[in-house]
């Protein structure tokens, strides 16, 4: 019983079509309920952003933090720890980055920018280390500790911006908005076009580095072993708790770096709302990208596209911005489902037999 090429093609295509239709249908129902123009909405969210350079740059500036965060999250995930605390780690990275920029504004850029980014890495890494060590030493579920640490980080973030790093101008004029002063030009990342900044290259380089680290070095090998089957790893002489903690430091460090880059490239001062839910979207991008850099890079672009496309929806087609969440949710659900169905060899074999039976019968009839 060989599977013919035609069958494989028809099978795969069929599943993907059904999946796409299912997503379209469900989104359409909701759009129809609120009386929106369905096709125009889809066009605006999925294709319009691809039509202009301005749009594309905006898509990419969302893809950059998503990609970096997802890379970090994938490292933790591969090491057996589900990091949903990237939101908090990113905030801590922003704080550390800002602290360095505020402390030494006069250092030259080649020195200051790397220093500040490194501080971001350390800040995020430290925040990631907490759930890592709690899990490794005290067996505290990381699902719980990371969720809690997100809230704690959010409050600490406001505290810092409101009290420690408050823009003197805000204080003097009394508007008092919790944000830092505009940071020195020495920490700015250059821009390519529009707001698109050099963080793009950092993200791509990191993707390559993560690939090398996880798949080409003993270090990554051990982390993956610890994450896949911790008992076997321990048996094999791998210090599982050590790698667990390290992977969380790295993961947090990536989130912190993403925060730093976001400030250096986009905002240029620490403001409220920088993390922008990227921490959660990052988990989705990581899983969506198959926890592999080669998948994460395109996945982050796709989600950047979706997120950006849906900010256009309210003004262009009068659909509430919440529709982005609906679409994102549906796309995630449908794609993971389709992936699962596609990888089910048992189903494939069964369908193949049906197909062959059908095909042969038709032949006989003919």
């Amino acid at each position: 019983m060989k599977m013919s090429r035609t069958f494989k093609f028809v099978y795969k295509l069929g599943i993907m079509l059904v999946a796409a239709l299912a997503a379209l249908l469900m989104a359409s129902i909701i759009l129809w309920m609120i009386g929106a123009d369905v096709s125009q909405t889809f066009y605006t969210i999925c294709f319009l952003p691809l039509t202009k350079t301005l749009h594309m740059t905006e898509v990419l500036i969302r893809a950059i933090p998503l990609c970096i965060l997802a890379l970090g999250i994938s490292i933790a995930y591969r090491s057996g720890i589900i990091n949903i605390g990237a939101e908090g780690q990113m905030a801590m990275g922003v704080l550390a980055f800002t602290a360095v920029a505020l402390a030494a504004p006069d250092l030259p850029r080649p020195l200051l920018l790397p220093m500040a980014l490194l501080a971001g890495v350390l800040g995020g890494g430290l925040w990631g280390f907490i759930p890592g060590i709690l899990k490794a030493k005290l067996k505290v579920s990381e699902l719980l500790s990371t969720v809690m640490l997100n809230y704690i980080a959010a409050q600490f973030y406001t505290f810092c911006l409101r009290v420690l790093m408050l823009d003197p101008a805000e204080k003097m004029t009394g508007s008092g908005t919790p944000q830092s002063m505009r940071l020195t030009a020495n920490i700015e990342l250059g821009r390519l076009s529009g707001r698109l900044h050099y963080g793009l290259f950092i993200a791509l380089v990191l993707a390559v580095l993560v690939y090398l680290l996880m798949w080409k070095t003993t270090f990554g090998y051990k982390m993956r072993a610890a994450g896949s089957q911790d008992r076997a790893a321990r048996y094999g002489g791998i210090n599982v708790s050590k790698y667990l903690a390290i992977s969380m430091i790295i993961s947090g460090g990536f989130a912190g770096l993403a925060g730093g880059i976001e400030i250096a490239g986009v905002h240029r001062r620490a403001i409220e709302g920088v993390t922008n839910n990227y921490g959660f979207s990052g988990v989705v991008v990581a899983l969506f990208g198959g926890l592999h850099p080669a998948g994460i890079v395109p996945a982050s672009f796709l989600f950047g596209l979706l997120i950006y496309g849906s900010t256009l929806a309210p003004t262009r087609v009068g659909v509430p911005a919440n529709i982005v969440q609906v679409m994102q949710g549906l796309i995630i659900i449908v794609i993971v489902t389709a992936q699962m169905v596609l990888s089910n060899k048992y189903l494939e074999a069964r369908m193949c037999r049906r197909w062959n039976a059908l095909f042969h019968k038709q032949k006989e009839v003919a």
């Binding site: 609120i34 500790s145 969720v147 809690m148 409050q155 989705v284 995630i332 993971v336």
Partner: protein, 314 residues
């Protein structure tokens, strides 16, 4: 003394939303399904719950029983979302973590979208009134803490022993536990693993939606797009905190909301420290408690997060 009584009297109703959602999530997880979409189901429940009385009263006052119709509708939508999630993670065996995040986004997004369209902006509702228990509510101290709340509060706390009974004393509970620990064994005993998981998901969804409806109709008595504000995630966390046991989960929910009320109260005392640290308190507390209790505890239901397929050997 008054201060303490007040704290306790408030933390009881404030814990209800977390309690209901956590117990629901507990059923999901006991059956081996990890539903991170709790937040989304809560949002839908909160929205549907308020929508029914809102539509019927055209935004004005309505008779109280319409609220319960709203709750009923919310519970049904919750069960439907559970069913939908079951289709994805039980039948199609999609990875549960990511599908749960998908459900969360879908639920929160849909509730928000429909809300914008059918209701508009932040909207308050008349909601469910308090029903003090006759006599009992007059007992000093105890009466205020336990017997001066709305019906859903009583329901939620009475449901804790019920949930315990269901889980440990009924055949369905037995099935749920078996399916969540060792589905292959349950299957070999003729138990329909997927069906049991579907049922648990529907119950969990119904409870999460009830929890949302409690927030919109009984606690906040209003709805806005950000009503749930992460409580769904906390509810999931509390399941771990309570080690998959209804009574311990109740303890966790009470502790959390006690800390929450306490922090609001100490801010009012005018002690000189940044309020952010007070707001952090409940979250810090949970982590600290867990650090002391996680070490020697039984772990999660061992099939948690693993889809079951008879044919695929593991």
């Amino acid at each position: 003394m008054d201060f303490v009584v007040n704290l306790l009297a408030m933390c009881v109703p404030f814990s209800v939303a977390l309690l209901l959602a956590s117990i629901g999530e507990m059923f999901n997880q006991r059956a081996g399904v990890f539903n991170l979409g709790c937040e989304g189901v809560m949002a839908m429940g909160a929205f549907i719950g308020m929508l029914v009385p809102f539509m019927i009263g055209k935004g004005g006052e309505v008779a109280n029983y319409w609220n319960y119709l709203g709750i009923l509708a919310a519970v049904m939508v919750g069960a439907l979302l559970g069913l939908f999630f079951g289709l994805i993670v039980v039948t199609f065996r999609a990875p549960q973590g990511i599908a749960g995040i998908g459900l969360q986004m879908f639920g929160v997004g849909t509730a928000g979208t429909l809300f914008r369209h059918f209701v508009g902006g932040t909207q308050s509702v008349v909601g469910i009134p308090n029903s003090p228990v006759p006599l009992l509510s007059k007992i000093p101290v105890v009466g205020d803490i336990f017997f001066n709340h709305n019906l859903l509060v009583y329901f939620a706390f009475l449901f804790v022993p019920v949930a315990w009974y269901i889980l440990f004393k009924t055949s369905w509970g037995l099935k749920v536990r078996a399916v969540g620990t060792y589905p292959r064994a349950a299957d070999s005993m003729g138990i329909n693993v997927n069906k049991t998981r579907y049922q648990a998901l529907m119950l969990g969804g119904a409870l999460a939606a009830l929890s949302g409806a409690y927030l919109s109709l009984a606690q906040a008595k209003m709805f806005s797009q950000s009503l749930i504000a992460g409580r769904g995630f906390i509810a999931v966390a509390l399941v771990y905190f309570g080690h998959w046991h209804p009574v311990q989960i109740m303890g966790g929910a009470l502790l959390f909301s006690l800390a929450q009320t306490f922090q609001a109260a100490i801010q009012g005392l005018g002690i000189n420290f940044p309020y952010e640290f007070a707001v952090m308190l409940p979250y810090v507390l949970v982590i600290v408690v867990l650090s002391f209790t996680s070490r020697n505890q039984t772990t999660s239901p061992s099939a948690l997060g693993k889809p079951f397929n008879r044919e695929i050997r593991t």
